[in-house]
């Protein structure tokens, strides 16, 4: 469902980037690949919004970009979490859990409301 429209909500994309980087520094391509594989290719990252999101997060001081060398020996810009980014990651993860739990609970409910009886 997400794959077809631009779909992935801004906040969700940022949370997924934070999650990716919580494993360690990674470049933009790696971030996109990891998100796709981690979601079982359900979520396809819109690349056109990934990079602006990365720059915005840099501006907010959550992540920091540094030039390094990739696995195949190419120059690449690696991002890593800052202290502020780590805090954001924790806050947003628990927020998301509460949110998605609440939505799941609501849609899993089997007893009809009183007005539907």
């Amino acid at each position: 469902m997400f794959a077809n429209d631009s779909g992935l909500l801004q906040g969700t994309l940022e949370l997924l980037v934070l999650k990716t980087l919580s494993w360690g520094p990674m470049h933009g391509y790696g971030i996109a690949s990891w998100i796709e594989s981690a979601t079982g290719d359900v979520l396809r990252v819109e690349e056109g919004s990934l990079y602006p999101a990365l720059y915005r997060m840099t501006r907010k001081g959550w992540i920091k970009g540094e030039w390094g060398v990739s696995d195949n020996n190419r120059r690449a810009k690696f991002y890593r979490l800052t202290a502020e980014g780590k805090r954001q990651y924790r806050d947003q993860t628990s927020g998301w859990r509460r949110f998605s739990g609440a939505v799941s609970q609501a849609i899993a409910t089997t007893s009809a409301p009183s007005w539907a009886r």
Partner: protein, 889 residues
């Protein structure tokens, strides 16, 4: 592989650096994607197309990212700068706290330098720069008569001259005359009689100055018409003081000198007339003077102001006025032959003679600041040298040189600003001292205060100083070669030739500045001494001077005035404590009347046709009371035979000047401008010169008449006492009230107090310049000592080596002495140049001493030699006590 990102056409909107970085990142991404697709078995061309398609709007992403990155960069640069600044400040303050003696000295030195400058600038600004209370004041000029023999540039004008110039000129849009001297009137208020200073002006004066009344209307031409009701205009302070700021004062009738006058208006607050502060302005009409054949040109009694026509410069107006004056001189050689006309901007006219002393003081304060800066530059240089190792290590560890220089600058600016703030406090203190000291000597429009301008000036000075003395050490560090310096430092080499030389230059400069300043102070002090020391001509101690205002309405006849003066003299003489009493038209030092005269029977003097001399009417006892010596002939003794004219008495310098053959006594003179005047009294005596202006060393010629013969001048009394003269003010006031309770007393003061007040203007530059000189000497001594000490300390290793190699201690001492002596000699040589400049600036202020007075210059040089030698001997002593073994180890 070809660049996967097509370059965008058109102008680049952001700087290439963020764009290049974004391009690199995106290129990497696309390459990875292509590589990935190929790995999955896609054809390379298709893979490329798919990768690009996957990314979507490439140029849009690129622009968005570039913009975001650029914004981030700017923010980061700002953060870094602030962070660095914070670090620099922390370092600076920590460093300052680590060297408290140095910091205290630096801040104090600066505070003194900046404080002196701000205080003097406060004075200079209020006198020379502040706006005058006139509309477009730059266009207002003052007209003066000018005596072609050069004796006066600021003489009064005759009514005819003013009228003729007004009729013929094209430079001015308006001219208004006023009585050239303010005079006193008795105002009968509700709480008793008061004396109020009054100026008579032509009504056009107010429109020429562009002054609008605060209340009512200004004077108008109708007020000068024959039979017009008598009117008066009040100044704001008079309105406040005597009329309690009553808004309904307009139209009220007030009694001034026995005449009832209607108040037409109140002048605005802060208005200062061309004659300074006054209480009343009365309308002046010139018609009667213009219709009197003698008074029209023979009496010079007017001042005038004019407004320049748009586009006319002062110079052009002066040329026209000179041409007109020359025409008048040809037309009326008798009266106008000796007169030119001066056109002067009104500010110059108001400032008068205070400009030169103020500029001299400003210059002195500037010299003090220069010395303070040199001092600090030297101190910071020494500190930077002793900290060189620290800096070198920091450079070696990767600190940028720019960063290092910035830190040094921050340190100096922190010191400078702290010093500036302290200086500002000192300036406030200094200005209040100047205020009590100087106010009588400054023009009336000066309101001494430290204001925003002065504040700005200090802060600017503080910052420039910080930059100036931050630069020298910073430059010396940036030149440092880390490897060499580290090696030198560990081996303990002497300091480099360059830094030794810059210290030497600072020493020489300080000495030169200090010598100039001390020489100037010395010359001024010697002039003041010459003036104070010159005989005054009378004994001012224990004499009370009192002026009484006689309303002409109530004392209309000469007899009534003579009777009044005799009465009061007799009553005062009977008071306990009184030794002698005399009456006079003006208290000595306050004579303003001058009279023209010709010697009967003598050929007219060329160019000096009718000389003007000070003119005083005195009673019989005047000379005895004041202790003025009679040199020959007689005084106006009471035993003058009846019916005989009492004659006149001339001062010594008048006798010498106009009767060079020594035959003054017995000769007759004709008084006044009228060549047919019947009043031709005989010269009966010669008395010692009295200096009417105690600020001048040379006495002015003076002529005395008996005030029984001319009682029309002022009525003042001089009372010699056995007790404190001020204790007699109240008894005299009681005696006066017993004669006529409506008469106010004016200006009761001991002659000694008047004398010291008159000398304020001359004493002030001396006091201040001496203070500056002392300050400079103190600063320079400390600075020179510190630099000699540092120079010697920097060579301690070298001295030890020399000693170890067999050099004698005497030789070491000679080495240090020679090094310091050379710079001191250079400083004194530079001081000689400074002295020439200073004496040129002071030329107009010197009296009775030569510009190159050996005493003043000798004392200045000797003082510095002594201070410099002491400053040098301490390091010499230390250098000779160096223990080679401890230093070398």
């Amino acid at each position: 592989m070809r660049d996967p990102i097509p370059s965008k056409r058109g102008k680049r909107l952001v700087d290439p650096e963020p764009r290049a970085e974004v391009d690199d990142e995106l290129t990497f991404h696309i390459e990875q994607r292509i590589r990935d697709y190929i790995a999955r078995g896609m054809d390379p061309v298709d893979a490329r197309a798919a990768a690009l398609e996957r990314l979507g709007d490439l140029s849009g992403v690129r622009d968005e990212c570039t913009e975001l990155l650029a914004a981030e960069r700017r923010a980061a640069a700002h953060r870094d700068w602030l962070g660095d600044l914070r670090q620099d400040l922390r370092f600076g303050i920590r460093g300052a706290a680590r060297a408290p003696l140095f910091s205290l000295l630096a801040i104090l030195t600066l505070a003194l330098g900046i404080g002196a400058n701000t205080a003097i600038f406060g004075v200079v600004k209020s006198v020379l720069l502040d706006a005058l209370p006139y509309a477009d004041a730059d266009r207002v000029v003052r007209l003066y008569g000018r005596l072609v023999d050069g004796t006066s540039d600021r003489a009064p004008l005759s009514a005819g001259t003013v009228a003729d110039i007004a009729a013929r000129q094209r430079s001015f849009s308006g001219i208004a005359a006023f009585r050239g001297l303010p005079y006193n009137l008795a105002y009968l208020g509700e709480d008793g009689p008061r004396v109020v200073t009054t100026v008579d002006v032509e009504p056009a004066l107010f429109s020429i100055l562009g002054v609008r009344p605060a209340l009512g209307r200004t004077l108008s031409d109708a007020d000068t018409a024959a039979g017009a009701p008598a009117v008066v205009m009040l100044t704001h302070s008079t309105w406040e003081r005597l009329f309690a700021s009553d808004p309904s004062v307009i139209g009220r009738a007030v009694r001034i000198d026995g005449v009832s006058r209607t108040v037409t208006g109140v002048l605005p607050r802060g208005f200062i007339g061309p004659l300074g502060e006054a209480g009343f302005y009365l309308p002046l009409e010139l018609r009667s003077a213009l219709s009197d054949p003698v008074r029209i040109r023979g009496r010079h009694w007017l001042g005038a102001v004019a407004r320049l026509e748009p586009g006319v410069a002062v110079d052009a107006a002066q040329r026209e006025a000179s041409a007109l004056a020359a025409d008048l001189a040809r037309q009326y050689p008798e009266d106008n032959g000796r007169f030119g006309v001066t056109v002067m901007p009104v500010r110059d006219a108001l400032i008068g003679s205070t400009r030169t002393p103020l500029l001299v003081l400003m210059g002195s304060a500037g010299l003090v600041l220069l010395i303070a800066c040199a001092n600090l530059a030297g101190a910071l240089l020494s500190r930077a040298i002793s900290r060189r190792k620290e800096f070198v290590i920091r450079v070696a560890l990767g600190a940028g040189r720019g960063r290092l220089i910035r830190q040094l600058l921050t340190e100096s600016i922190v010191l400078a600003l702290t010093g500036g703030a302290a200086g500002f406090l000192l300036a406030g203190l200094g200005l209040s001292v100047v205020r009590t000291l100087a106010l009588p000597a400054l023009p009336d429009h000066a309101e001494l205060s430290l204001d925003a301008g002065a504040m700005l000036f200090t802060m600017l000075l503080a910052l420039c100083t910080g930059l100036a003395f931050g630069v020298a050490p910073a430059l010396s560090v940036s030149r440092a070669d880390p490897q060499g310096a580290l090696r030198d430092e560990s081996r303990g080499m002497s300091e480099g030739r360059r830094s030794r030389r810059s210290r030497g230059v600072l020493v020489a400069g300080q000495i030169a500045l200090c010598v100039s300043l001390l020489a100037g102070a010395g010359l001024l002090a010697r002039s003041l001494w010459a003036i104070v020391d010159a005989p005054l001509g009378f004994t001012p101690e224990r004499v009370l001077g009192v002026a009484v205002q006689l309303p002409p309405g109530d004392y209309a006849t000469g007899q009534s005035r003579v009777r009044f003066m005799k009465d009061l003299e007799a009553r005062v003489r009977a008071l306990p404590g009184v030794v002698a009493v005399a009456s006079t038209s003006d208290v000595p030092m306050r004579v303003m009347n001058r009279v023209g005269f010709t010697i009967v029977g003598a050929p007219p003097l060329p160019n000096d046709a009718s000389p003007f001399v000070l003119y005083t009417g005195v009673s019989d006892d005047y000379f005895r009371t004041l202790g003025i010596a009679l040199l020959s002939g007689r005084t106006f003794a009471a035993d003058t035979r009846p019916r005989e004219q009492p004659g006149v008495i001339v001062s010594e310098s008048m006798a010498r000047r106009y009767w060079p053959d020594g035959k003054a006594i017995g000769s007759r003179i004709r008084m006044g401008p009228d060549p047919a005047s019947p009043w031709t009294p005989e010269v009966v005596g010669i008395v010692a010169d009295v200096r009417n202006d105690p600020a001048r060393a040379e006495p002015e010629p003076q002529l005395y008449v008996s005030n029984r013969e001319d009682p029309w001048g002022g009525s003042a009394f001089v009372i010699r006492t056995r007790v404190d003269p001020n204790s007699l003010i109240d008894p005299v006031r009681r005696e006066l009230a017993a004669i006529d309770p409506r008469l106010p007393i004016d200006d009761a003061s001991s002659l000694s107090a008047m004398l010291s007040e008159r000398l304020v203007g001359r004493r002030l530059p001396v006091v201040l310049m001496t203070a500056f000189g002392t300050l400079a000497l103190l600063l320079a001594s400390v600075g020179v000592y510190a630099m000699f000490a540092a120079m010697a300390a920097a060579r301690e290793h070298e001295f030890s080596v020399r000693l170890a190699l067999g050099s004698s201690r005497r030789g070491i001492a000679a080495l240090v002495l020679r090094q310091g002596g050379v710079w001191m000699a250079l400083g004194l040589a530079g001081g000689a140049v400074g002295v020439v400049i200073v004496t040129r600036a002071l030329r107009g202020l010197l009296y009775g001493v030569s510009q190159f007075d050996p005493v003043a210059l000798g004392i200045a040089v000797m003082t510095l030699l002594v201070c410099g030698t002491v400053a040098l001997l301490i390091p010499v002593r230390r250098a000779t006590r160096v223990d080679p073994m401890t230093v070398l180890r």
